[in-house]
């Protein structure tokens, strides 16, 4: 199978500080890959490479090569808007816009020039159904998104990311601010979404990584320590650091 994302010896520097050290991982389409590791290990930074969110920070220098669907996304003439349409993102805390539920989901379409109401309606409904939120909100699409519960808001954010039909979804600890029931719903959703999307998820929750992911990569202080199939990595870690981490010796 063709790799959808590849990274080759990627390093990232914040001014003098090296946050990522020669990371090389390839991702298969329609899989869930979990990035795990202690705080500050660079897993979020690595995730943000794929939709170039690190560009927002001053004095960032990146070396190495990142390709998505065969294209080097750090080429000079890369269209970042196009890239971000292809690579959706869900953040740690639910961060809906100060708009109605409908407009939240339609946002990505609108900023990309879609204003035809019938198209918008169709896509919004489709996305909300995919994120398993439709039944809960179909009667209050005009209400403010802030009236939803935290878990609903996070699923709304997923719907918002799905509406522009990306092929890859990045999730940065999507359930860390949620209660267990909402977390279970999100995990179920991730399992569903795998059929249509490639998902890369950063998580602090090792059980979660074990439950939802096919592959797992363990990061430690900017370095990739170990990667492999999730089952294999959890049951039979090759590196002592990985073993210490997943058995809870540090974290």
């Amino acid at each position: 199978m063709e790799h959808i994302i590849t990274t080759e010896l990627v390093s990232l520097f914040y001014s003098e500080f090296q946050a990522l050290k020669d990371i090389s991982i390839d991702f298969l389409p329609n899989t869930v890959t979990a990035l795990i590791g202690p705080s500050g290990c660079g897993k979020s930074t690595y995730l943000r490479l794929f939709n170039r969110m690190n560009d927002l920070i001053d004095n960032v220098k990146i070396t190495g090569k990142v390709t998505i669907e065969g294209e080097d996304i750090y080429k000079k003439d890369t269209n970042i808007v196009e890239l971000r349409r292809k690579v959706g993102m869900v953040f740690q805390k639910p961060n809906p816009f100060p708009k109605s539920i409908f407009e939240n989901v339609a946002y990505g379409l609108r900023v990309n020039g879609v204003n035809d109401m019938s198209v918008l309606k169709e896509k919004v409904e489709f996305s909300l159904k995919q994120s398993a939120l439709w039944d809960e909100v179909k009667d209050k699409l005009k209400k403010s998104a802030f009236e939803l519960s935290g878990g609903q808001q996070q699923r709304l954010c997923i719907a918002r990311a799905l509406a522009i039909e990306p092929s890859i979804i990045l999730m940065d600890e999507p359930a860390s601010a949620l209660d267990p029931i909402s977390t279970a719903k999100i995990e179920e959703l991730i399992y569903e979404l795998k059929n249509n999307y490639t998902i890369v998820i950063v998580t602090h929750n090792l059980q979660q990584a074990g439950r939802v992911s096919d592959y797992t990569a363990f990061f430690y202080i900017g370095e990739l320590i170990e990667k492999g199939e999730t089952k294999e990595l959890f049951i039979n870690p090759k590196n002592i650091k990985t073993q210490n981490y997943i058995t809870g010796r540090f974290g």
């Binding site: 939709n51 969110m53 927002l56 808007v81 196009e82 971000r84 349409r85 959706g88 993102m89 953040f91 740690q92 805390k93 639910p94 961060n95 816009f97 100060p98 708009k99 946002y107 990505g108 609108r110 900023v111 990309n112 403010s144 802030f146 935290g150 954010c157 918002r160 990311a161 522009i164 601010a177």
Partner: protein, 402 residues
Amino acid sequence: MIKFFKSTFEKIIEGTLFLSSTITTLAIVLIIVFLFREGIGTFNQSPIEEGFSLVVNKNNPINELSAQQIKNIFDQNITNWKTVGGNKDSIILFNLDNISNFYSDSAIGENFEFLPQCISDYTEKHSGVVAFVSTRYTGKGFTGKILTTPKVTITQFISQKEWFPTAQPAAQLGVLALILGTLWVSFGAIVIALPLGLATSIYMAEVANPKVRNFLKPLVELLAGIPSVVYGFFGLVIIVPGIQKLFDLPVGETALAGSIVLGIMALPTIITISEDALRTTPKAMKEASLALGANKWQTTARVVIPYSSSGITAAAILGIGRAIGETMAVLMVTGNAAVIPHSFLEPVRTIPATIAAELGEAPQGGLHYKALFALGCILFIITMAINLIVGYVSSKKKYNTR
């Protein structure tokens, strides 16, 4: 023992704090009470100066004339009694200074001791006469009729257009022109200041790099510290002649000049408050927008500004509040003509400028003096309403961000 001192010390501190807040509250209440007591005094007075009255022929059916009618009669805009509801008879204005034209010195008396009889006689002989005379001459033996004048009412005060508090015989106390002048100049100021201030705050919050921002921010705050008389002087020397030349006007002191000066003065308020509001937009919300393929401008227009709209509204309203209450600079550049403005290129007069300009020459305790306090009350009510609106807007349930 130490415990006793400690608790006494605490009590003293507590007492001092209580005392200071009491004094502050008392001062505010005193100012408001004083303002309104003096201001409301306006509405118990006749617009005719105390010690004088208007007299007419005793057969004249008119019993009462309003301040406006009196003015029109004495300005000879009304020349027939019929216009004010009387008989068809032309009005004869009688001026006491001209009495020697009608009566010989001996008839008046060496020390004017027969003056009352002369006035009495004159009003009796001419059916259409109206005279403005001291009440000294209309006592016992006066055969004419003394007109009454209705007291100044609040509706009259607010709805009449003419502000001429020193007019003889009847003061004209219509503040409509002043209220409209104030609102007009403030409206112009906000039209100028809001786009400029908003653009600057967006630039500072979203575009400028930290270096530029750290330079710009103190500069804007410096703008707030310049005394208003300096702004007025700047307006008088630079803006007023500029407007005069640009629009080819006879005078440059116009509402536009006031609006520009006030607009500049309102800028720091608008910029600082709306910039603070813009900067409270959570970074995560902006990132979410960018991650959906929105560019920087789309993010600013569709996420950052809607998110901080209540702060921006508060900034705009506070800016208006600053403009409405401003005195010195406006006094210097607007030309101070108490007429209802029709364009920005006409002189106008604002409420604060009127108070500042006229309080010094108004006799203390007189009608004019009290009317200025009533103006102060109106200004107070307007600015208080603005503060209440700001309170409401900024307390309006802010979107939960979590």
